[in-house]
């Protein structure tokens, strides 16, 4: 789960990691009213959306005076921000953060994440802050410094000394740096983050450090022990159908194509999407009904798929293991009772109890395939008619 910048900064503050003074607001009136609380200009007006590249897309502006600030508040709040990380429609800006401008001496990069390959925690720092880390990696790989930390050992003084030495920090800035790195590590562990990133991580003219930006990703698997963090979920930025699916405990991701698909298992679901493309059409969604899915989940999943107006045909691809083919067939027949389904549907059933499942569907005069490729070719043909 991603957190918004203002939420991440609030958590930073709670862990004593310095962030610029700022106030977030969800409407123009409050935002303009909040301007009074700042003592000096310039101020930074920042769109709060869960996507990178906000600055380049016009979602971050520096206001030199009150008039400019009001202008930017009005233009940014409510705009559809389109960045390289959003869809073509962009994301509607529902919240902005107004902050004091910092007196920067130099911009650094800081990132802490789970290193999948080494199976531990990795800290990445660079003196080429401000750029995206992928760009730094490409253009100045020698300026990327990485250290790995065994979570059972934790962050130790020698780790921090390594970073300080590699970054060639001046004596005056070292203690402040060390303190913040320690707090960031504690924060990472305390909230079960999978990524904490500060870019730029600002060194100020008075030799202190400031998190100019803040990005936190939480590990979804850990949310069960952080009910307070679960509450921070930005339901407005979630796709409406994806939200519905999450509540119904169906793994669903909306895509741009027109063949709705329902599959058991994430790998097979991805593979099904790829094959739809391979045979010349495009998937409308990723949908995994999960391990032990019963008839009701099949019904719910089908309801979600048909709510997407782009869907022109439906493919159900089931390889029964724990999921039984007869349960899927029953769920489908049940769904037909409540849903008016006038779209072509192709079903592939193989595996546990496939014969019972196929018989249930045959009674309803629904065509069933046992091979994935055949089912895919059929649905692509039907949608293209």
């Amino acid at each position: 789960m991603k957190l918004q910048e203002f939420q991440s900064k609030k958590i930073f503050k709670e862990h004593n990691i310095p962030v610029p003074d700022g106030i977030a607001a969800g409407n123009v009136k409050t935002a303009i009213c909040n301007l009074k609380k700042f003592k000096k200009y310039p101020l930074v007006i920042k769109a709060q959306v869960l996507a990178g590249g906000r600055g380049k897309a016009g979602g971050i502006k520096i206001a030199k005076n009150k008039k400019e600030a009001e202008k930017y508040i009005k233009s940014i709040l409510g705009m559809n921000l389109i960045t390289h990380q959003t869809s073509a429609q962009g994301i509607k800006v529902r919240k902005i953060l107004i902050e004091e401008c910092a007196d920067l001496l130099k911009e650094y990069y800081f990132g802490m994440l789970i290193d999948r390959s080494k199976k531990d925690i990795c800290i990445i720092v660079s003196s080429a802050g401000g750029m995206e880390i992928e760009e730094i990696a490409k253009e100045k790989p020698e300026e990327i410094i990485k250290i790995n930390i065994d979570p059972n050992i934790g962050l130790r003084a020698f780790h921090i000394f390594d970073l300080i030495k590699s970054l060639k920090l001046t004596k005056e800035t070292q203690q402040g740096f060390a303190n913040i790195i320690k707090r960031l590590y504690n924060l990472f562990i305390a909230i079960d983050a999978s990524l904490v990133e500060i870019n730029p991580f600002g060194l100020l003219k008075d030799n202190t450090w400031l998190a100019i930006d803040a990005k936190i990703l939480l590990d979804d698997n850990s949310l069960f022990r952080h009910p307070n963090l679960e509450k921070l979920r930005d339901v407005y930025e979630e796709d409406e159908l994806e939200r519905l699916a999450r509540i119904k405990k169906v793994n669903y991701v909306r895509l741009d194509g027109n063949i709705g698909c329902m599959v058991n298992g994430a790998g097979l679901a991805m593979c099904t999407m790829d094959l739809i493309k391979h045979y010349g059409a495009s998937p409308a969604n990723f949908l995994d009904i999960g391990g032990g899915a019963k008839a009701e989940q099949v019904t719910e999943a089908l309801k979600i798929i048909v709510k997407d107006p782009k869907v022109k045909g439906i493919l159900i691809n089931i390889f029964g293991g724990i999921v039984r083919c007869d349960e899927v067939a029953k769920g489908f027949v049940e769904a037909l009772k409540t849903l008016k389904l006038d779209l072509p549907v192709v079903i592939r059933l193989t595996g546990t109890n496939q014969d019972i499942g196929i018989n249930i569907l045959k009674e309803q005069k629904i065509a069933v395939f046992s091979e994935m490729d055949d089912a895919l070719k059929e649905i692509v043909k039907k949608v293209k008619l």
Partner: protein, 290 residues
């Protein structure tokens, strides 16, 4: 042969009295797996399906000589279950449990790596050496004993591919589902190292998906020192960046871990990559004859 498990494997099931644990214990026994004990704290002395239940893995090992453990306990308790099994001297642990916090797994790995314990999973279907033993939740009947090794990050997609192999009369030596989480025990490379010395295995299929870099690392290893033909399949070519595709580990982040990138590295290392699961048997046959 086959790798990691066979007819001599003595299995202990952690969480045997749970719904999933009980159901799959029955399936494993039906397949012929030698299930010697179950463990559920507080239920020692009971019997499930004729299998004696113990309060701890330690007693199961001491009294029944269990050498391999499979874990069906809920996510909040699974990391402790893994450590408990590792401390008894068990050398292979298979963790089926889904939804374990990633940091917990990182901590577990740093402990069990030092002990030389092998872990398959979590969030995986398990491991099967067809005709010999099955440890996990895969449907046994789709498999056939033979000479193809299979390693996969997925569950049902593995079944699909195994089904295609079996239909084409290409039996399997061992099939391992390594799991769909960001941090798991054995990665592709670790499994390949096992297959390398297995006389029964003549070729290997690796089934990867978006996210992480373990397919790329495997590709480099295969090119450098693997001694048998490998065919690969990568799922998720149509997956958009930043969206988690079901598995916690299946996410393209920061432009890294895309299917296209993985396919390119695999091909650059001389590995044939199938476009569809149904292509795999043909690619294997041609690799074996060349």
């Amino acid at each position: 042969m086959s790798i990691l498990i066979d007819k001599n494997t003595k299995l202990v099931v952690q969480g045997i009295t749970g719904r999933e644990g009980g159901f799959h214990t029955q399936k494993m026994i039906e397949y012929g797996t030698n299930v010697v004990a179950g463990v559920t704290p507080g239920k020692g002395g009971e019997k499930v399906l004729g299998v004696p239940v113990f309060d701890s893995v330690d007693s199961a090992v001491k009294e029944k000589g269990a050498d391999t453990a499979v874990i069906f306990v809920p996510a909040a308790f699974a990391p402790d279950a893994i450590i408990e099994a590792a401390l008894t001297g068990i050398k292979l642990i298979v963790c089926i449990t889904e939804g374990i916090p990633v940091i917990d797994m990182a901590k577990v790995m740093s402990i069990i790596n030092k002990m030389g314990v092998k872990l398959i999973g979590p969030n995986c279907p398990g491991i099967i050496s067809p005709g010999k033993a099955k440890i996990g939740i895969m449907p046994g009947y789709i498999h056939k004993q033979g000479n193809i090794g299979v390693i996969s990050r997925s569950g049902t997609l593995t079944y699909e591919i195994v089904y295609n192999l079996t239909k084409d009369n290409l039996g399997q030596s061992t099939c391992i589902g390594i799991g769909g989480d960001p941090v798991t025990g054995m990665y592709f490379i670790d499994c390949l190292k096992e297959f390398k010395d297995d006389k029964e295995t003549e070729a290997v299929v690796i089934i990867g998906e978006i996210g992480g870099s373990s397919e790329e690392e495997a590709a480099v290893y295969i090119k450098r020192e693997f001694n048998k033909p490998v065919v690969a399949f990568i799922a998720g070519q149509t997956a958009p960046p930043g969206k988690r595709m079901g598995h916690a580990g299946a996410i393209i982040s920061g432009g890294k871990g895309t299917a296209l990138e993985k396919i390119k590295v695999l091909q650059d290392c001389g590995i044939k990559v199938a476009k569809t699961p149904s292509e795999i048997p043909g690619l294997i046959r041609s690799a074996l004859t060349h």
